[in-house]
Amino acid sequence: MKSLAELQAIKDKMKDKVVLREGTNDIRVVVGMATCGIAAGARPVLNALVESVNELGLSNKVTVSQTGCIGICQFEPVVEVFEAGKEKVTYVKMTAEKAKQVAESHLQGGKVLTEYTLSEGEL
Protein backbone atom coordinates (compact mmCIF):
# COMPACT_ATOMS: atom_id res chain seq x y z
CA MET A 1 0.00 0.00 0.00
CA LYS A 2 1.27 3.40 -0.96
CA SER A 3 1.97 5.84 1.83
CA LEU A 4 2.82 9.51 2.03
CA ALA A 5 6.26 8.44 3.27
CA GLU A 6 7.08 7.39 -0.30
CA LEU A 7 6.80 11.02 -1.32
CA GLN A 8 9.87 11.65 0.80
CA ALA A 9 11.86 9.44 -1.57
CA ILE A 10 10.44 11.24 -4.61
CA LYS A 11 11.32 14.54 -2.97
CA ASP A 12 14.93 13.50 -2.33
CA LYS A 13 15.25 12.24 -5.90
CA MET A 14 13.65 15.29 -7.49
CA LYS A 15 15.11 18.13 -5.44
CA ASP A 16 18.36 18.37 -7.44
CA LYS A 17 16.70 17.73 -10.78
CA VAL A 18 14.13 20.50 -10.31
CA VAL A 19 16.80 23.08 -9.62
CA LEU A 20 18.71 21.91 -12.66
CA ARG A 21 15.64 22.06 -14.85
CA GLU A 22 14.48 25.57 -14.11
CA GLY A 23 14.75 27.88 -17.08
CA THR A 24 15.92 25.25 -19.54
CA ASN A 25 12.53 24.42 -21.05
CA ASP A 26 12.47 25.89 -24.52
CA ILE A 27 9.42 24.20 -26.03
CA ARG A 28 6.01 24.91 -24.55
CA VAL A 29 3.11 22.61 -25.44
CA VAL A 30 -0.34 23.89 -24.56
CA VAL A 31 -3.56 21.85 -24.58
CA GLY A 32 -6.96 23.56 -24.71
CA MET A 33 -8.86 22.33 -21.65
CA ALA A 34 -12.06 24.39 -21.63
CA THR A 35 -15.50 22.78 -21.92
CA CYS A 36 -15.11 22.43 -25.69
CA GLY A 37 -11.71 20.74 -25.44
CA ILE A 38 -12.67 18.43 -22.58
CA ALA A 39 -15.89 17.34 -24.34
CA ALA A 40 -13.94 16.61 -27.53
CA GLY A 41 -11.39 14.40 -25.75
CA ALA A 42 -8.58 16.69 -24.54
CA ARG A 43 -7.98 14.79 -21.30
CA PRO A 44 -6.45 11.67 -22.91
CA VAL A 45 -4.53 13.90 -25.34
CA LEU A 46 -2.96 15.83 -22.47
CA ASN A 47 -2.15 12.63 -20.59
CA ALA A 48 -0.55 11.09 -23.69
CA LEU A 49 1.64 14.18 -24.14
CA VAL A 50 2.72 14.23 -20.49
CA GLU A 51 3.46 10.51 -20.69
CA SER A 52 5.38 10.68 -23.99
CA VAL A 53 7.46 13.70 -23.00
CA ASN A 54 8.60 11.79 -19.94
CA GLU A 55 9.17 8.49 -21.76
CA LEU A 56 11.23 10.19 -24.46
CA GLY A 57 13.30 11.95 -21.81
CA LEU A 58 12.27 15.40 -23.00
CA SER A 59 11.27 16.85 -19.61
CA ASN A 60 14.27 19.16 -19.61
CA LYS A 61 13.29 20.64 -22.94
CA VAL A 62 9.49 20.51 -23.05
CA THR A 63 6.76 21.70 -20.69
CA VAL A 64 3.18 20.56 -21.16
CA SER A 65 0.53 22.90 -19.80
CA GLN A 66 -3.21 23.51 -19.98
CA THR A 67 -5.14 26.52 -21.14
CA GLY A 68 -8.75 27.59 -21.62
CA CYS A 69 -10.66 27.98 -24.86
CA ILE A 70 -8.39 28.77 -27.79
CA GLY A 71 -11.35 29.96 -29.88
CA ILE A 72 -11.53 27.25 -32.54
CA CYS A 73 -13.85 24.85 -30.74
CA GLN A 74 -14.83 22.97 -33.91
CA PHE A 75 -11.20 21.79 -34.20
CA GLU A 76 -10.81 20.56 -30.60
CA PRO A 77 -8.88 18.88 -29.12
CA VAL A 78 -6.31 21.53 -30.01
CA VAL A 79 -2.61 21.40 -29.12
CA GLU A 80 -0.33 24.39 -29.65
CA VAL A 81 3.46 24.17 -29.75
CA PHE A 82 5.48 27.28 -28.95
CA GLU A 83 9.20 27.34 -29.57
CA ALA A 84 11.47 30.36 -29.23
CA GLY A 85 12.28 31.88 -32.60
CA LYS A 86 9.79 29.71 -34.48
CA GLU A 87 6.21 30.19 -35.57
CA LYS A 88 3.48 28.66 -33.40
CA VAL A 89 2.29 25.25 -34.63
CA THR A 90 -1.39 24.38 -34.07
CA TYR A 91 -2.40 20.72 -34.12
CA VAL A 92 -6.12 20.08 -34.43
CA LYS A 93 -8.61 17.25 -33.89
CA MET A 94 -6.04 15.45 -31.80
CA THR A 95 -6.20 11.99 -30.28
CA ALA A 96 -3.91 10.29 -27.78
CA GLU A 97 -2.34 8.35 -30.65
CA LYS A 98 -1.65 11.49 -32.72
CA ALA A 99 -0.25 13.17 -29.61
CA LYS A 100 2.31 10.38 -29.23
CA GLN A 101 3.35 10.84 -32.85
CA VAL A 102 3.70 14.60 -32.36
CA ALA A 103 5.90 13.99 -29.31
CA GLU A 104 8.21 11.68 -31.26
CA SER A 105 8.32 13.51 -34.57
CA HIS A 106 8.02 17.16 -33.58
CA LEU A 107 9.05 17.54 -29.94
CA GLN A 108 11.89 15.03 -30.15
CA GLY A 109 12.79 15.05 -33.85
CA GLY A 110 11.98 18.67 -34.74
CA LYS A 111 9.78 17.66 -37.68
CA VAL A 112 6.30 19.22 -37.74
CA LEU A 113 3.53 16.74 -38.58
CA THR A 114 1.75 18.90 -41.13
CA GLU A 115 -1.03 16.37 -41.74
CA TYR A 116 -2.39 17.19 -38.26
CA THR A 117 -1.90 20.95 -38.33
CA LEU A 118 -4.44 23.58 -39.18
CA SER A 119 -3.97 25.03 -42.62
CA GLU A 120 -5.04 28.60 -43.31
CA GLY A 121 -7.75 27.59 -45.76
CA GLU A 122 -9.65 25.72 -43.06
CA LEU A 123 -10.19 28.71 -40.80
Binding site: M1, K2, L4, A5, E6, L7, Q8, I10, K11, K13, M14, K15, V18, M33, A34, T35, C36, I38, A39, R43, P44, L46, N47, V50, N54, S59, V64, S65, Q66, G68, C69, I70, G71, C73
Partner: protein, 184 residues
Protein backbone atom coordinates in the same frame (compact mmCIF):
# COMPACT_ATOMS: atom_id res chain seq x y z
CA UNK B 1 -19.84 14.83 -21.98
CA UNK B 2 -19.29 11.09 -22.20
CA UNK B 3 -18.32 10.71 -18.56
CA UNK B 4 -19.36 12.54 -15.42
CA UNK B 5 -15.68 12.79 -14.51
CA UNK B 6 -15.25 15.14 -17.49
CA UNK B 7 -17.94 17.45 -16.11
CA UNK B 8 -16.05 17.38 -12.81
CA UNK B 9 -12.81 18.36 -14.53
CA UNK B 10 -14.58 21.14 -16.42
CA UNK B 11 -16.51 22.67 -13.51
CA UNK B 12 -13.57 22.39 -11.08
CA UNK B 13 -11.59 24.53 -13.55
CA UNK B 14 -14.02 27.35 -12.74
CA UNK B 15 -13.03 27.11 -9.08
CA UNK B 16 -9.35 27.42 -9.94
CA UNK B 17 -10.08 30.39 -12.20
CA UNK B 18 -12.01 32.01 -9.32
CA UNK B 19 -8.71 32.04 -7.43
CA UNK B 20 -9.58 29.22 -5.03
CA UNK B 21 -6.78 28.11 -2.74
CA UNK B 22 -8.69 24.92 -2.02
CA UNK B 23 -11.18 23.12 -4.24
CA UNK B 24 -13.05 20.20 -2.72
CA UNK B 25 -14.46 17.51 -4.96
CA UNK B 26 -16.77 15.26 -3.00
CA UNK B 27 -18.66 12.29 -4.39
CA UNK B 28 -21.12 10.51 -2.12
CA UNK B 29 -22.80 7.49 -3.63
CA UNK B 30 -25.47 5.09 -2.51
CA UNK B 31 -27.03 2.31 -4.57
CA UNK B 32 -29.62 4.74 -5.93
CA UNK B 33 -27.98 8.16 -5.99
CA UNK B 34 -24.73 9.93 -6.70
CA UNK B 35 -24.22 13.34 -5.13
CA UNK B 36 -21.38 15.46 -6.46
CA UNK B 37 -20.22 18.55 -4.60
CA UNK B 38 -17.59 20.98 -5.84
CA UNK B 39 -16.79 23.49 -3.12
CA UNK B 40 -14.19 26.24 -3.43
CA UNK B 41 -12.95 29.22 -1.46
CA UNK B 42 -12.47 31.37 -4.55
CA UNK B 43 -13.78 34.89 -5.16
CA UNK B 44 -17.41 33.77 -5.40
CA UNK B 45 -20.14 35.48 -7.37
CA UNK B 46 -22.88 37.97 -6.71
CA UNK B 47 -26.50 36.75 -6.80
CA UNK B 48 -26.99 38.13 -10.30
CA UNK B 49 -23.98 36.29 -11.65
CA UNK B 50 -25.04 33.03 -9.96
CA UNK B 51 -28.39 33.30 -11.67
CA UNK B 52 -26.74 33.83 -15.02
CA UNK B 53 -24.11 31.05 -14.92
CA UNK B 54 -26.77 28.41 -15.38
CA UNK B 55 -27.66 30.23 -18.58
CA UNK B 56 -25.62 28.78 -21.48
CA UNK B 57 -25.23 32.24 -22.96
CA UNK B 58 -23.32 33.55 -19.98
CA UNK B 59 -19.53 33.27 -19.73
CA UNK B 60 -16.59 35.26 -18.37
CA UNK B 61 -14.63 34.21 -21.39
CA UNK B 62 -13.97 36.73 -24.12
CA UNK B 63 -13.20 34.37 -27.01
CA UNK B 64 -16.85 33.40 -27.42
CA UNK B 65 -20.13 34.43 -25.92
CA UNK B 66 -21.26 31.06 -24.57
CA UNK B 67 -20.27 29.10 -21.46
CA UNK B 68 -21.56 25.56 -21.33
CA UNK B 69 -19.75 24.02 -18.39
CA UNK B 70 -22.32 24.60 -15.63
CA UNK B 71 -25.38 24.15 -17.89
CA UNK B 72 -24.03 20.79 -19.09
CA UNK B 73 -23.58 19.53 -15.52
CA UNK B 74 -27.06 20.80 -14.59
CA UNK B 75 -28.55 19.03 -17.60
CA UNK B 76 -26.66 15.80 -16.83
CA UNK B 77 -28.13 15.78 -13.30
CA UNK B 78 -31.66 16.86 -14.18
CA UNK B 79 -32.02 14.39 -17.06
CA UNK B 80 -31.73 11.56 -14.50
CA UNK B 81 -34.53 13.02 -12.39
CA UNK B 82 -31.94 14.48 -10.04
CA UNK B 83 -31.30 18.06 -9.04
CA UNK B 84 -28.74 20.84 -9.27
CA UNK B 85 -27.90 23.83 -7.12
CA UNK B 86 -25.26 26.48 -6.99
CA UNK B 87 -24.62 28.78 -4.05
CA UNK B 88 -22.02 31.47 -3.82
CA UNK B 89 -20.68 34.14 -1.50
CA UNK B 90 -18.75 36.86 -3.28
CA UNK B 91 -15.56 38.19 -1.73
CA UNK B 92 -16.97 41.71 -2.10
CA UNK B 93 -19.85 40.91 0.26
CA UNK B 94 -18.13 38.29 2.40
CA UNK B 95 -14.47 39.31 2.72
CA UNK B 96 -13.59 36.43 5.08
CA UNK B 97 -15.63 33.42 4.05
CA UNK B 98 -16.33 33.43 0.34
CA UNK B 99 -16.55 30.85 -2.40
CA UNK B 100 -18.89 28.75 -4.45
CA UNK B 101 -20.63 25.44 -3.85
CA UNK B 102 -22.02 23.44 -6.74
CA UNK B 103 -24.13 20.41 -5.91
CA UNK B 104 -25.53 17.94 -8.40
CA UNK B 105 -27.65 14.94 -7.49
CA UNK B 106 -28.01 12.07 -9.96
CA UNK B 107 -30.40 9.12 -9.92
CA UNK B 108 -28.05 6.30 -10.84
CA UNK B 109 -30.71 3.89 -12.05
CA UNK B 110 -32.13 6.29 -14.60
CA UNK B 111 -31.38 5.35 -18.21
CA UNK B 112 -29.89 8.80 -18.87
CA UNK B 113 -27.35 8.58 -16.02
CA UNK B 114 -23.88 9.24 -17.39
CA UNK B 115 -21.32 6.89 -15.80
CA UNK B 116 -18.72 8.50 -13.56
CA UNK B 117 -15.87 7.23 -15.74
CA UNK B 118 -12.19 7.82 -15.05
CA UNK B 119 -12.35 10.19 -12.11
CA UNK B 120 -8.69 9.47 -11.21
CA UNK B 121 -7.64 10.91 -14.55
CA UNK B 122 -9.68 14.06 -13.91
CA UNK B 123 -8.06 14.55 -10.50
CA UNK B 124 -4.52 14.08 -11.82
CA UNK B 125 -5.27 16.36 -14.77
CA UNK B 126 -6.45 19.10 -12.40
CA UNK B 127 -3.31 18.76 -10.27
CA UNK B 128 -1.02 18.67 -13.33
CA UNK B 129 -2.59 21.86 -14.67
CA UNK B 130 -2.78 23.69 -11.35
CA UNK B 131 0.11 22.54 -9.18
CA UNK B 132 0.00 25.63 -6.98
CA UNK B 133 -3.58 25.30 -5.76
CA UNK B 134 -4.91 22.62 -3.44
CA UNK B 135 -7.51 19.95 -4.07
CA UNK B 136 -9.33 17.74 -1.63
CA UNK B 137 -10.96 14.69 -3.15
CA UNK B 138 -13.25 12.27 -1.40
CA UNK B 139 -15.38 9.47 -2.81
CA UNK B 140 -17.66 7.44 -0.56
CA UNK B 141 -20.04 4.58 -1.29
CA UNK B 142 -22.85 4.12 1.25
CA UNK B 143 -20.80 6.03 3.82
CA UNK B 144 -17.65 3.97 3.29
CA UNK B 145 -14.57 5.73 1.87
CA UNK B 146 -13.50 4.41 -1.57
CA UNK B 147 -10.73 6.94 -2.14
CA UNK B 148 -9.52 10.21 -0.71
CA UNK B 149 -6.69 12.61 -1.38
CA UNK B 150 -5.56 15.94 0.07
CA UNK B 151 -2.89 17.77 -1.91
CA UNK B 152 -2.04 19.86 1.17
CA UNK B 153 -0.56 16.73 2.77
CA UNK B 154 1.27 15.82 -0.44
CA UNK B 155 2.60 19.36 -0.79
CA UNK B 156 3.93 19.27 2.76
CA UNK B 157 5.68 15.94 2.20
CA UNK B 158 7.22 17.14 -1.09
CA UNK B 159 8.71 20.23 0.51
CA UNK B 160 9.04 22.44 -2.56
CA UNK B 161 8.99 19.86 -5.36
CA UNK B 162 6.19 20.92 -7.73
CA UNK B 163 3.09 18.72 -7.74
CA UNK B 164 3.07 18.69 -11.55
CA UNK B 165 6.32 16.68 -11.70
CA UNK B 166 5.72 13.48 -13.64
CA UNK B 167 6.80 11.21 -10.78
CA UNK B 168 4.40 12.98 -8.41
CA UNK B 169 1.42 12.78 -10.81
CA UNK B 170 2.15 9.09 -11.38
CA UNK B 171 2.35 8.50 -7.63
CA UNK B 172 -1.01 10.20 -7.09
CA UNK B 173 -2.56 8.13 -9.88
CA UNK B 174 -1.25 4.87 -8.35
CA UNK B 175 -2.22 6.00 -4.85
CA UNK B 176 -5.85 6.53 -5.90
CA UNK B 177 -5.94 3.34 -7.99
CA UNK B 178 -4.76 1.32 -4.99
CA UNK B 179 -7.40 2.82 -2.76
CA UNK B 180 -10.17 1.99 -5.23
CA UNK B 181 -8.86 -1.56 -5.63
CA UNK B 182 -8.71 -2.12 -1.88
CA UNK B 183 -12.07 -0.62 -1.05
CA UNK B 184 -14.00 -2.27 -3.83
Amino acid sequence: MKELSLNILDVAENSVKAGAELTQIIIDETDEALVLKIIDNGCGMSEDVVRSVIDPFYTTRTTRKVGLGVPLLKLAAEQTGGSFSINSKSSAEYPIEHGTKVEARFCKNHIDFTPLGDVISSITTLIQGHPDTDFLFSHTLSGKVCAELDTREIRKALDGVPLCEYEVIKWIEEYLKEQYAENK
